[in-house]
Subunit: 121 residues, 2 copies
């Protein structure tokens, strides 16, 4: 969709065919993206999905979180999906904790500075 100049609706079937995946499976992915505000949709004949924003304004960090879940390698350093480790008495005393934060930040830095437009160029 991002490769198209115009912002006209694209049917699920067309994308499924060109990407070699099942139509139904793609449907669930596109539905997720619509619910999270990345895509709009149009029903009926001539309908389909379309991008709501300019590809330049879509950061990969947002897309990744929706489609892949947490960016952090471990839940205890995740910003959006934080979870405490079961048997960890003190995160600050954990030797691995700070290292994981460092990795998270460097990954996040890349995703935040890459747009959908960057990807297709």
């Amino acid at each position: 969709m991002a490769r198209l100049e115009e912002r006209t609706p694209v049917q699920i079937g067309l994308i499924a065919e060109s990407e070699n995946i099942s139509q139904k499976y793609l449907e669930s992915i596109l539905l997720t993206l619509r619910k999270s505000g990345f895509l709009g949709s149009k029903k009926g004949k001539g309908g389909g999905y379309y991008l709501l924003k300019d590809p330049k304004d879509i950061k990969m960090s947002g897309v990744m979180r929706i489609l892949e879940g947490p960016i952090a390698m471990v839940p205890c350093v995740s910003l959006n999906f934080y979870e405490k480790c079961d048997d960890c008495p003190d995160e600050n005393a954990c030797a691995v904790h700070n290292l994981m934060i460092e990795v998270r930040d460097s990954t996040l830095n890349i995703f935040n500075n890459t747009s959908l437009a960057d990807l297709i160029s």
Copy 2:
């Protein structure tokens, strides 16, 4: 173990207790580390596990690969656990591929430049 000055064997039971995990489970982890060359072991009374190298010379990238598997987010950009994507006709044509390589390299850079000694300080 890295925190100890001397390189004397430490018993599984002691570590299991101080880390609040089952002795058997810890055993399987230590066994993995021994087989991959990070730890040595001594049997019989007074035995246990000990580091084979100086903590300064143990890079976290090596430890991570043994305990956590691939560092890359997707197999198709993994250096040590490479796998081709099923329905991908051309990796170079994949929009996500280069992004994932970038992330892999930045993560690897951190793990390569962090030693076990860095972690405990």
